[in-house]
Amino acid sequence: MGKIVVDVMLKPEILDPQGKAVAAALPRLGFSFATDVRQGKRFEITVDGDVTPAQIAEVEKAAEVLLANPVIETFTVRAE
């Protein structure tokens, strides 16, 4: 079985209140490394057999219309 991974992130110019809340929580727990945190979504899509370029292309189409909202988000698609 092959796996296709889609990562969706808010565009850099879109405010990410969840990421900001995480960034604010880290120092309270003693973690001082973060200057910024952005939170995104990851989709893991399982397919029969090895992943083909045609399947990647199909998933890219699906990401454009459903998995991501191109108005506020960007996405990457890759086989894993």
Binding site: L10, E13, I14, L15, D16, P17, Q18, A21, L66, L67, N69, V71, I72
Partner: protein
């Protein structure tokens, strides 16, 4: 006049929207998300709630419901269409309106009476207001921050497509205090606050929401 009110799984405010339609003097017609039949209605309201549990993104799944195909086709031909709260999110996801609604900037779910200023009185849903009129209606949402790129914002501002703005402190981080917008033609309106909860002083903070529902009757009679 017959106005359709759509119920998706997870819709909350369909009954109040239907009640507002009746108060305005029209017949409310229930439309089911899984049924592509609009039953010959003259206009449609997408009410508030959490359709499909807000899974993926608010409105992202509802947009592909069978009833939406016909609603999008009719709206593109000029049928008046109002999206309230979750309905506004559906309209943005369906690309009937530009931009997107994102998480409130302070992350809190808001539920309060909100003052708005009506900026556009030419849309199908706002013609019975006066320009600059201030109204108080409930605002209740977790993802009400209107976002779009600079170019879209300029287009909305320059073409009088901002229907209403929040008055006072920005409640949710919306760009330019935007509470509602309309499409180029003025038949499709998306509004984050809830006019359907402000039509009777017994059950709401005011009756300021009612003109949204009487405006569309004026628009339909004038056609």
């Amino acid at each position: 006049m017959r106005i359709g009110v759509v119920t998706f799984p997870g819709t909350l405010d369909d009954r109040d929207a239907a009640r507002a339609v009746k108060y305005a003097g029209a017949e409310a017609v229930s439309l089911w998300h899984g049924d592509a039949d609009l039953k010959g209605v003259d206009a449609v309201i997408l009410p508030g709630g959490f359709s499909y549990g807000d899974y993926l993104r608010c409105g992202a799944i509802s947009r592909f419901a069978p009833v939406m195909t016909e609603i999008i086709a009719q709206a593109n031909k000029g049928m008046p269409l109002l999206g309230i709260c979750n309905g506004f999110q559906v309209l943005c996801e369906a690309h009937l309106l530009p931009g997107a609604l994102t998480r409130n900037h302070e992350l809190h779910f808001l539920c309060r009476d909100q003052t708005l200023k009506i900026e556009n009185t030419t849309s199908a849903w706002t013609s019975n207001f006066t320009k600059g009129q201030e109204i108080v209606i409930p605002l209740k949402n977790g993802e009400g921050s209107f976002q779009c790129d600079d170019e879209t914002l300029k287009l909305l501002e320059d073409n009088n497509r901002i229907v209403a703005r929040y008055v006072g402190e920005n409640p949710n981080g919306s760009r330019n205090l935007i509470a509602g917008i309309t499409n180029e033609r003025g038949n499709v309106v998306g509004l984050m606050p809830h006019p359907e909860h402000a039509i009777d002083s017994l059950t709401g903070p005011s009756t300021d929401g009612l003109p949204f529902f009487t405006s569309v009757l004026t628009a339909l009679v004038g056609k």
